[in-house]
């Protein structure tokens, strides 16, 4: 990401991650990373779901936080992840005016329990993603841009990509960006009735895979310019490349089988970041474990990376956290870059050879410079975001 400068031009701004935090069914960000490396899955059956009559009762739910009020579950998840991110970023917000702090948040369902437990005093403004974004802004004292993306299961990438762009453009000094998804009974019913949900375990890229598994969680990163990071003698943990976005314009829920939208998003992120496919050391795949989505993603990956690239999905470990998913995966990508280790494809140690992918089946040491984090969503949304090793 270098370019020759002529007189009068300023050097491009590099957006850096200086802190991250996550809450998943495996625990905190560090516990999630350790669990994924160990091949753990947080999936288990839930008696309350059986008692309520759900056909599928296995899910990945967060148990290490207080239960709290159901209608504020998303806020509680976000608060915990943001607190961890700010702690790691150590002083990122010190002396920053509120109007120079931006919040960028993605979600699918918002506070799902707010809809499930709606009463005569229901207000959408209390439960949608904008409410979650306002909550994070209030936590931070942020009065700058506050943006909520309703871009479903790709929303984390949208939020983090936009936050990095805002830092590069100088619209904010510090951005806090990520995704939130509390456990959603509406989604449990919806995915199950669409026959998209596995009854047992999520097995991305495995022949005979039976579908996705619902999770819940939140993840946030703190993003600042490299100049600001250096000025406050902080550590950059990773750099954020350009976001690539595309659309299938095909079907409300199914991806294009040719993977062309997915590939377009990947290529857009690469070209806009001036990074070659050969420089990508790992793809954090969307890898939901559904037959159609995994197959289309494999087609796209073979097209963009004809020489192959290591690929894995963490959804076998923590389930599909929907709007939080690509934010959690961003955090895992930052950890992979720092550790020089590619995490394995949990529950997927025997990948389908017909997909033609180099699936990482066990933790793999690697001198990885760039990670491409891919996320797609209902509505034919395709996204890819590059994360790079710091320095």
């Amino acid at each position: 990401m270098t370019a020759d400068l002529t007189a009068g031009e300023s050097a491009p701004v590099t957006a850096c991650v200086t802190g991250y935090g996550a809450v998943t069914a495996l625990g905190s960000a560090s516990q999630t990373w350790a669990g994924v490396l160990a091949g753990q899955t947080a999936a288990r059956p839930w008696q309350d779901l059986a008692d309520e009559g759900f056909a599928v009762t296995t899910a990945c739910r967060v148990t290490h936080l207080p239960t709290g009020e159901p209608e504020r579950r998303g806020r509680d998840l976000a608060s915990a992840a943001v607190a961890d991110a700010l702690g790691l970023a150590d002083g990122a917000l010190d002396a920053v005016p509120g109007d120079r702090i931006g919040v960028y948040l993605g979600t699918t369902m918002g506070e799902s329990a707010g809809y499930e437990r709606a009463t005569s005093s229901f207000s959408v403004d209390a439960h949608n993603g904008a409410a979650l974004a306002r909550h994070v802004a209030e936590l931070l004292g942020a009065t700058g841009p506050v943006r909520a993306y309703g871009t479903a299961c790709a929303a984390g990438n949208y939020a983090i990509g936009a936050a990095a762009a805002a830092v590069r453009a100088g619209r904010v000094d510090v951005a806090v960006a990520g995704g939130v998804e509390p456990f959603s009974r509406i989604a449990m019913v919806g995915f199950s009735r669409m026959r998209a949900m596995t009854p047992d375990l999520c097995r991305p890229f495995v022949a005979g895979r039976r579908g996705m598994q619902l999770g819940e969680g939140a993840a946030f990163v703190v993003i600042e310019s490299a100049e600001r990071v250096a000025a406050r003698s902080a550590d950059a943990l990773a750099v954020v490349g350009a976001l690539g976005l595309a659309s299938d314009a095909h079907h409300p829920t199914s991806p294009r089988p040719d993977g062309s939208g997915m590939a377009a998003a990947m290529l857009a992120s690469l070209s806009r970041s001036s990074v070659s496919p050969a420089d990508v050391g790992w793809v954090s795949a969307h890898g939901t474990g559904t037959a159609q989505s995994d197959a289309a993603e494999a087609v796209a990956l073979r097209a963009v990376f004809p020489d192959g690239v290591p690929v894995s999905s963490i959804k076998g470990a923590i389930g599909h956290t929907m709007g939080a998913a690509s934010a959690v995966e961003t955090v895992v990508a930052v950890q992979a870059l720092a550790a020089g280790t590619l995490p394995p494809n949990v529950n997927g140690s025997s990948p389908d050879p017909g997909l033609g992918l180099d699936v990482v089946v066990a933790p793999r040491r690697a001198d990885v410079r760039w990670v491409l984090n891919c996320a797609y969503a209902f509505g034919g949304l395709d996204s890819a975001l590059l994360l790079g090793r710091a320095a």
Binding site: A152, V189, P252, R272
Partner: protein
């Protein structure tokens, strides 16, 4: 990167939807048909930005109420995608054949315009259809009555090519 923004006059349409499961499908289809009529000939559109507060909300309430009434095993699978805020964007983008960014922000028309202008300046796209789709009156109960929806549209970005 400097982007010269052109902005066409905003266009406003309204429709009334019932508070039934799959009403979200009907609203999305209506919005897509209106957008096709207005902008179908604009072949240079390469991005779509939709702002909404209520898309998916009334459908979530209706989907869940119906699922509880019928039992989860009989819940309507075709209605579930319309519990998502980005369902209208999916329908509009498909009808117009827009293969670039599809962005749904939870907020106002100005929020979508801001997002589109920032992304165009960042090079994500060159010419975007910007839409605001919301009920005229937001849902304020678990059983919202039929309500009119308002669609507001504009285009920002590079001027259309000379023909």
């Amino acid at each position: 990167m400097n982007v010269v923004m052109s902005s066409l006059p905003d266009v406003v349409r309204t429709v009334t939807s019932p508070s039934l499961v799959a009403a979200g499908d009907a609203v999305s289809a209506w919005a897509a048909a209106e957008a096709l009529t207005l902008y179908g000939a604009d072949e240079r559109l390469d991005a779509l930005y939709v702002a909404t507060t209520g898309a998916g909300a009334a459908e979530s309430l209706a989907f869940w109420a119906a699922a509880r009434a019928t039992g989860f095993a009989l819940a309507a699978p075709g209605a579930f995608p319309y519990t998502l805020a980005n369902a209208p964007a999916a329908r509009i983008g498909t009808v117009l054949g827009i293969r670039g960014p599809s962005v749904t922000v939870l907020g106002s028309f100005d929020d979508a315009l801001d997002a589109a202008r920032e992304d165009l300046a960042d090079g994500l796209a060159t010419r975007a259809l910007v839409v605001h789709l919301d009920p005229v009156a937001p849902a304020t109960s678990a059983d919202p009555p039929a309500t009119p929806w308002r669609l507001t549209c504009s285009v920002v970005g590079a001027p259309p090519a000379d023909r």
